[in-house]
Amino acid sequence: MSLMVFFPFITPNNYYLHLVVMMMIYSISAAGLNLMMGYLGLLPLSVAAFAGIGAFTSANLMIRYNVPFLIALLAAILLVTVIAVAIAVPLLRTRGIFYVIGTLSSQLIIYELFLNLVEITGGSIGLRGVPKPELFGYSFTSFLELYYFIFLMTAVTHSTVYLIIKSNFGRSLLAIKENEVKAISLGLNPYTHKLFASAISMAICSISGILLAHYLTHVSAENFTLLHSIDVFLMVTMGGAGTFYGPIAGAVIWTVVMETLLSFRGLRELLYGIVLVVLMLVIPKGAMGFSMPNIRKVLKFPQ
């Protein structure tokens, strides 16, 4: 925590500062997805699509109607929540890999809309000149100000997620994940819980899209592809689903791996694939679920 506060003063250059900002933005998405993955055992692959809806909504509100950032943010989150519920109502009837595929197709449909609704999203070129974030008339323009603003937003989001996880609601989700029939017998309604969790989870993911748009001041459909959804999923899995620190650790690991692989140029993507396979063989439960007995159990030749 304190390292993050003083990081701008010890880092040698702005590039590392930029990396940490991106890391924070990713960690928000990861935390949002973790709510579904770790606490409900459902894997929605539509994270990037909802981040995109949030980003385009708030960017448009600010560019066209000069709406203050805070109101644009809340309006975008509200819209994402509504759409998330509308999509979740039918999809929550499925489960497991079926649910994954259903959300995956909604990601593809929404991405296609991003590409083709040129008036709103700028098509494949995207929107340029998205305003920097501002609070009560004060605009965050310098790099340092932006860093602290996004740090603040990240901290607020993660604290909210922490409160949700530790609340009765969070525990109910775990109970439903553990045994749905028992949860029903305890008087819980799995369907409404799942519906609320989808809405909250996608709303949190949209915050990361909104921050991304206003931080980079340029946003296009290419920021919200299926591969981005898969990246967030990889972060949660690498960090350890179902733990509070897992998604944060995952975002850090992911950024470090991607940056390290940058120096391999052409081989980068190939190595990325191989690193994923190796990571899953060595730490199948992610960094936060790291323990020696686990590794032995998985590496043991079956039968």
Binding site: F98, I101, L108, E269, G273, V277, P302
Partner: protein, 288 residues
Amino acid sequence: MLQAVINGVVNGGLLALMTLGLSLIINTSRIPNFAHGGFFTWGAFITYTLITVYQYDMATAVILSVLSITAIGVAVERTIFRFLRGASEETIFVAATGLLIAFTNGALLLWGDWPRTIPNPLSSTLLNVAEGVSVTMFRLIILATVAATVIVVSMFLKYTKQGKAIRAVYQDTTVSRLVGINSDRIILLTFAIGTSLAGLAGSMAGLEFAISFDMGIPITIKAFLLVIVGGTGSLLGTATAALVFGVIDSLTITYLTSIYNNAVVFAAMMLILLIRPQGIFGREVKRS
């Protein structure tokens, strides 16, 4: 209209091969094999290399490439997925995604990023089916191959001892072990069959259409959707669903919209899932 339907049936046929293999793998081993499209891409490129570089004739090239894809598939199952047998579905999915990325970019490194075509005299011979409707000779061969493969695979599953064992594992892994079926060997066998079907689809697609290193990703997504929509527990169901999908896709592009064609098809699939969550041909399956 008829032209669009014929084109759709050819595309759907190739998709049916992919879907059939994936459905076998997913249902028997519970491996969400997202790397399936990687075998498809490599099947196409190995056929390309065999024909253009080593000057093999078409039939030999297809057979050799299917065999090498099967070998790669077996190697992948033995070295990666077998060690992940006890892991969660998500973990296996990440590993498979990593494999797909590795396959795709391996193809990019080996064969470059420009689209290729395999010289094939049969794909430039046109046959007139009706007034203004024509089909290339090779597309008919594709359809015949798909039909023959589907029949052979379902006969194999129905009548041979190995096929019956596959169906037993498919229905209940634990009980099939109790009656003495070596489930590891059966899963390896399904993986071999599944990947060889993907390789065959890749070879066929490569001989008729242009090939590129990233051709495997969209077809993997479609095959995955179709396994779900077709329903578990019904191989012919998934094959039929693939054919129908191909035709709907082709008709949408021709008559409705060429911008939103994917959106239309995926929306249709979600609608089907909404009405029949167990798939079109699926039965309600209770799983622990």
